[in-house]
């Protein structure tokens, strides 16, 4: 929200998606498996973005809905105008973090993503064990899923030593150069 451009112009510039293409048929919301759990379903988000109203925009980037969206791509699959809603959702999430207005209800979801990327940043590959520990520390949900540990161990599914790639310097540069752009 740092520029003076209109919301639809900013979205178009960053994602190539033209919000104005949406004519509110509602197919995205009808097919969204999580619409019923969202504070604003996808077609309503599109409409609120179309208003180019900063107050509406603030509501959207502070919503829980943008974090519940898993980019299953069903909406774009069914959209008669092929509006790339998942791509817009990615943009909104990043902007929500940048503007520090992530919905408190969505914090655990963001914590999961941060724990995931934190683990990848360390070794280049995701250690599920370290990601889970990171998530527990971030959310203080220390006991969650602890009952799964014995059976996961028995099935040989837990790896305690993370795999590491050789190109660590390369990886460090990837994280550094793509940060906060």
């Amino acid at each position: 929200m740092a520029t003076n451009h209109q919301i639809s112009t900013r979205i178009k510039a960053a994602t190539g998606v033209d919000i104005a293409m949406c004519y509110q048929c509602g197919k995205c919301t009808a097919g969204c498996v999580l619409a019923g759990d969202m504070d604003y379903p996808s077609s309503m988000i599109m409409r609120m973005l179309q208003t180019n109203d900063e107050e509406n925009y603030r509501k959207i980037i502070s919503s829980e809905a943008i974090w519940l969206c898993q980019n299953c791509e069903n909406c774009i699959g069914r959209c008669p105008k092929e509006v790339d809603i998942p791509k817009v959702m990615d943009y909104l999430r990043a902007d929500s973090v940048k503007n520090k207005c992530v919905s408190p209800k969505a914090k655990p979801i963001l914590s999961f993503y941060q724990s995931f990327l934190g683990a990848v940043k360390t070794s280049g590959r995701l250690s599920e064990v370290f990601m889970t520990i990171g998530f527990k520390l971030r959310t203080l949900r220390l006991w969650q899923d602890i009952n799964l540990v014995p059976s996961m161990l028995a099935k040989g599914k837990l790896k305690f030593i993370p795999e590491s790639i050789k190109g660590k310097r390369n990886l460090k540069n990837i994280f550094k150069s793509t940060n906060n752009k």
């Binding site: 898993q70 943009y91 099935k155 990837i174 994280f175």
Partner: protein, 281 residues
């Protein structure tokens, strides 16, 4: 026949039975799968949600490495990895400036024209024709083929199967003797990476999928994605609680089903590693 192989992180961890079954199946058909040396995580569901540039650079590094190692084709069994790699390839081919900036990030230049195959494309291309002659144990069961989201969508980029009612998995299962059922949840989302942060929502979404499959008489649910698998299998206690009944329908990978049909031992396919017991197949 040698092909590049991108296991991805899940297949090296909690979804190791998927890796085991792909690796057990390939040599039966004379195919050698060679890991891309020094591959890295694709960023999966996390990177694109918070940082677009990172979500393109992570898969790009692996694509560039694969190219440098001389592979023309790579097999990517995880549907989520497959999706991220395919999307990165598409986005970078569309935008020269973006590609240049990503090349700078990964400190490599590349043509970005490697062929990326998901597990079904791999089987269709290299295995399907030879399956009939190798079958020793027909897989005579009713099955629900579950494609999930990322195997077929976004259709414009992935260009694979039908987006609303895909049939590629059904055809493969039919070929090995199974009876695929008609059902309503072939491509509905399982809840994906909400598994840890919002287990309640995964129980609901995955619960609807498992219940429909079981109600319509499926003896197994066939999948091609480790994320779908863990949600439908490992989250079964939460699913059972949500649907209010105990459903014992197992969830198995397409490579495990074909593996059984061509006579590979169940342990070699990792069937003992599932949470929902596979003792009826």
């Amino acid at each position: 026949m040698k092909l590049g192989f991108y296991p991805g992180c899940s297949l090296n961890g909690t979804a190791r039975e998927y890796n085991e079954s792909v690796k057990a199946l390939a040599p039966v058909f004379g195919i050698e799968l060679i890991d891309i040396d020094d591959w890295n995580c694709c960023g999966a569901s996390a990177a694109h949600a918070v940082n677009r540039d990172l979500s393109l650079a992570l898969p790009a590094r692996t694509l560039a490495l694969a190219e440098k190692q001389g592979f023309d084709e790579i097999v990517v069994p995880c549907a989520a990895c497959f999706n991220r790699l395919a999307v990165a390839q598409y986005e970078l081919n569309k935008d020269e400036m973006l590609k240049k900036s990503v090349e700078k990030s990964i400190d490599m230049t590349f043509n970005n024209d490697i062929k990326i195959l998901n597990v079904v494309q791999f089987i269709d291309k290299y295995i399907k024709d030879k399956i009939l002659e190798k079958i020793s144990h027909k897989f005579e069961h009713q099955v629900a083929c579950y494609y999930g989201c990322l195997l077929v969508r976004p259709n414009k980029i992935i260009d694979f199967d039908r987006v609303e009612d895909p049939t590629s998995l059904d055809e493969l299962m039919q070929l090995i003797g199974a009876t695929p059922i008609d059902w309503g949840f072939k491509t509905e989302c399982c809840g994906a990476s909400l598994s840890i942060a919002r287990t309640d929502l995964v129980a609901k979404l995955s619960g609807n999928i498992v219940k429909d499959a079981a109600d319509r008489g499926a003896e197994a649910i066939i999948v091609a994605c480790p994320m779908c698998h863990s949600n439908l299998d490992m989250r079964r206690p939460q699913i059972d609680e949500y649907v209010g009944e105990k459903i014992s329908t197992p969830v198995i990978y397409i490579t495990q089903a074909i593996g059984l049909a061509v006579g590979i031992a169940p342990e070699k396919l990792g069937l003992q590693r599932h949470f929902v017991k596979v003792n009826t197949l």
